[in-house]
């Protein structure tokens, strides 16, 4: 995504540098990047600038934003500081989002790569497994997993990963099927490279651009997923998260709009940032597709 750190010859412009050039010129992609940096700034720098415990009761319940100078965004139904919640809630949401996306990519790429590379019965078998996971309604399955086993952050991330990988597997498979017949793969085989070498060192790097785009969108989806689970009260109750704030404040919705509106806006802006960056990366990697 960033400038080419590895190119030693300054004149040679790699595909990554070219992609960054296209990305940089897209206003929406840059807006997305700015949104992401803003959210990360609030999450990582916030706790050092605003020292309030998100679980501590600081003022009268349901104080509207702006009424009390020390509590700029008001309080929730228990009298807890909303701004402190927004700052603290980001880290759980982002951590679970990224971890779940990582798990999704690991399982999806592994299964997709073997299915696409070997074809035949390996492909048949792996694709049947993929289809099985694809018919499970994702949120319901994650709800079941999280309640049967403890709702820790790790389990939430695992549950999201388990239900999200089939799409990545299908994408990886189709990329591998396309690339494995190309000349340079045959050339590698001719000089005696092993299967593992060809899969991970030759085909995977060439399949990366669409996978990076898909990984970005997966992060957005995982964040929404985490938000949904914690809204339902199925995430770790001891960790503040945006979804949890919405879930616990929804009964007071009509008296206190800010309790649900503000954390939801944070989720919206985060996922919006992620998806704008994803769209930007897609355009950057496929300049021909830009018209759509």
């Amino acid at each position: 995504m960033t400038a080419p750190a590895r190119t030693s010859v300054p004149a040679a412009r790699g595909p990554m540098a070219e992609a960054w050039d296209i990305f940089r010129r897209s206003p929406s992609a840059m807006l997305g990047l700015a949104l992401l940096l803003l959210v990360m700034g609030i999450t990582f720098a916030g706790p050092h600038l605003y020292h309030v415990d998100p679980f501590e009761i600081v003022w009268a319940p349901l104080t509207p934003p702006g009424e009390e100078a020390t509590i700029p965004l008001g309080t929730d139904n228990l009298g807890r500081d909303i701004l402190a919640g927004l700052i603290a809630g980001g880290s759980a949401t982002l951590a679970v989002g990224f971890a779940a996306a990582l798990i999704t990519m690991l399982i999806g790429v592994l299964i997709g790569a073997y299915a696409g590379f070997y074809g035949g019965w390996v492909d048949d078998l792996l694709m049947r497994v993929t289809e099985f996971f694809q018919v499970l309604p994702p949120l319901l399955f994650a709800m079941v997993v999280v309640t049967l086993f403890q709702p820790t952050l790790v389990n939430v991330a695992l549950a999201i990963g388990i239900v999200s990988w089939p799409q990545t597997a299908r994408l990886t498979r189709s990329e591998f099927r396309r690339i494995r017949t190309l000349e340079y793969v045959n050339a590698m085989r001719a000089i005696g490279a092993g299967d593992g070498n060809i899969i991970w060192r030759v085909i995977l790097p060439n399949a990366l651009p669409p996978l990076i785009v898909s990984a970005t969108l997966t992060i957005g989806m995982a964040i929404l997923f985490e938000a949904g689970l914690s809204f339902l009260g199925l995430s770790d109750p001891n960790v503040m998260s945006w979804g949890l704030m919405i879930g616990s404040g929804r009964e007071y919705l009509l008296d206190a709009w800010w309790v649900v509106t503000l954390p939801g806006a944070m989720i919206f802006l985060t996922v919006l940032g992620v998806s704008l960056v994803g769209d930007g990366l897609n355009d950057a990697f496929n300049p021909k597709m830009r018209e759509r």
């Binding site: 289809e131 099985f132 694809q134 018919v135 499970l136 309604p137 994702p138 949120l139 319901l140 399955f141 709800m143 079941v144 997993v145 309640t147 049967l148 086993f149 957005g220 929404l224 938000a227 949904g228 809204f231 339902l232 009260g233 199925l234 979804g243 919405i246 929804r250 919705l253 009509l254 709009w257 649900v260 509106t261 939801g264 989720i267 919206f268 996922v271 919006l272 992620v274 998806s275 704008l276 018209e291 759509r292």
Partner: protein, 323 residues
């Protein structure tokens, strides 16, 4: 053709069996005694009930025998007892299936009809207003959590513009005939249907636009135009039908996700469907019901996939011949 259908039905049956095995494994893998898992934390945990469960599920027998017992009963339509509601799980689920299907069908129908119209409008002029609307809508539809959109609509319609009810499916106070009842349900359906539909409206409008732009560049469209076919007919008859194929495929593939979205939307609007049931039974740790819902929803997804495949073949006869 018939062999194909038969093969697909067999495959669907294998998937259903696999889901049942998964359900069985989930109970076994959960920490704690399976009998306690089945009875639930607040279920009648009396020694009598526990003994009955052990007997019924054969919990003292080897694992494979247990699996056989479980599958045998499931295939006879017995998914166990809900010890929380004190009713057979299947009865409980069937009583809630209707409202969920009504909600999902409404959302899907709204999203497909409005989404494809909007996508078509946008494809006429990729830089026009409709295109901008599609872009903005798809960004909002993708990025806003569906339960949050619902809650925002509740704020808007409960206090500011009290046009539509924000909770439940039927007004108890209102009396009247079947027509009044249907109208009442439709009135309650507006906001949940809109909330769930918006997510997919966003996706289908974007997909239709992309797909139409691709189809409109095809040779046969140029031929049709050269023959002097009116622009309206080129759009309606030549382009639209071909552009619909990916939309139908995606809509079918997303059925599981739509049901998942329905869980959240039902919770927000207290819609008395499978989603609220799933939520309540998870809070009550009523696992037979939760797993039963998981099984039924998967069943619905499998059926939806079969139907999608069928519709795709109707839309594109090439698919029916090939493969």
């Amino acid at each position: 053709m018939f062999r194909r259908i038969l093969r697909q039905l067999l495959y669907a049956a294998a998937l259903i069996l696999a889901v049942l095995v998964l359900n069985f494994l989930l109970i076994q893998l959960a920490p704690g005694d399976p009998a306690e898992v089945i009875a639930g934390e607040m279920g009648g945990a009396s020694a009598e009930v526990m003994a009955a469960i052990r007997e019924q599920y054969g919990l003292d027998k080897p694992l494979l025998t247990q699996l056989g017992l479980y599958l045998g009963r499931a295939l006879q339509g017995d998914l166990g007892m809900s010890y929380y509601y004190n009713r057979p799980v299947v009865d409980l689920i069937l009583s809630r299936l209707g409202p969920t299907m009504l909600l999902v069908a409404t959302a899907l129908g709204f999203a497909l009809i409005v989404g494809t119209r909007l996508g078509m409008l946008a494809s006429r002029n990729p830089r026009g207003i409709a295109s901008a609307v599609v872009t903005v809508l798809s960004l909002i539809g993708y990025s806003a959590p569906v339960f949050w959109t619902g809650l925002m609509l509740v704020i808007l319609f409960a206090a500011k513009i009290p046009l539509f009810p924000v909770a439940g499916m039927i007004d108890v106070v209102k009396q009247g005939g079947t027509l009044m009842r249907a109208l009442d349900i439709a009135h309650h359906l507006v906001l949940p249907g809109l909330t769930l539909g918006l997510v997919y409206l966003a996706q289908y409008s974007r997909l239709t636009r992309a797909s139409m732009l691709e189809v409109l560049g095809a040779d046969y469209i140029r031929t049709a135009r050269a023959k002097g076919v009116s622009e309206k007919l080129v759009f309606r008859r030549h382009a639209f039908r071909n552009a619909m194929l990916p939309v139908v495929t995606v809509a079918g593939m997303q059925f599981g996700a739509i049901i998942s979205g329905a869980v959240l939307v039902e919770t927000v609007f207290s819609w008395p469907g499978l989603g609220t049931l799933a939520f309540q039974s998870i809070l009550a740790r009523d696992y037979p019901t939760v797993l039963g819902i998981l099984f039924f929803s998967t069943l619905i997804v499998i059926i939806a996939n079969l139907l999608t495949d069928f519709v795709s073949r109707l839309l594109d006869p090439r698919l029916a011949k090939g493969r």
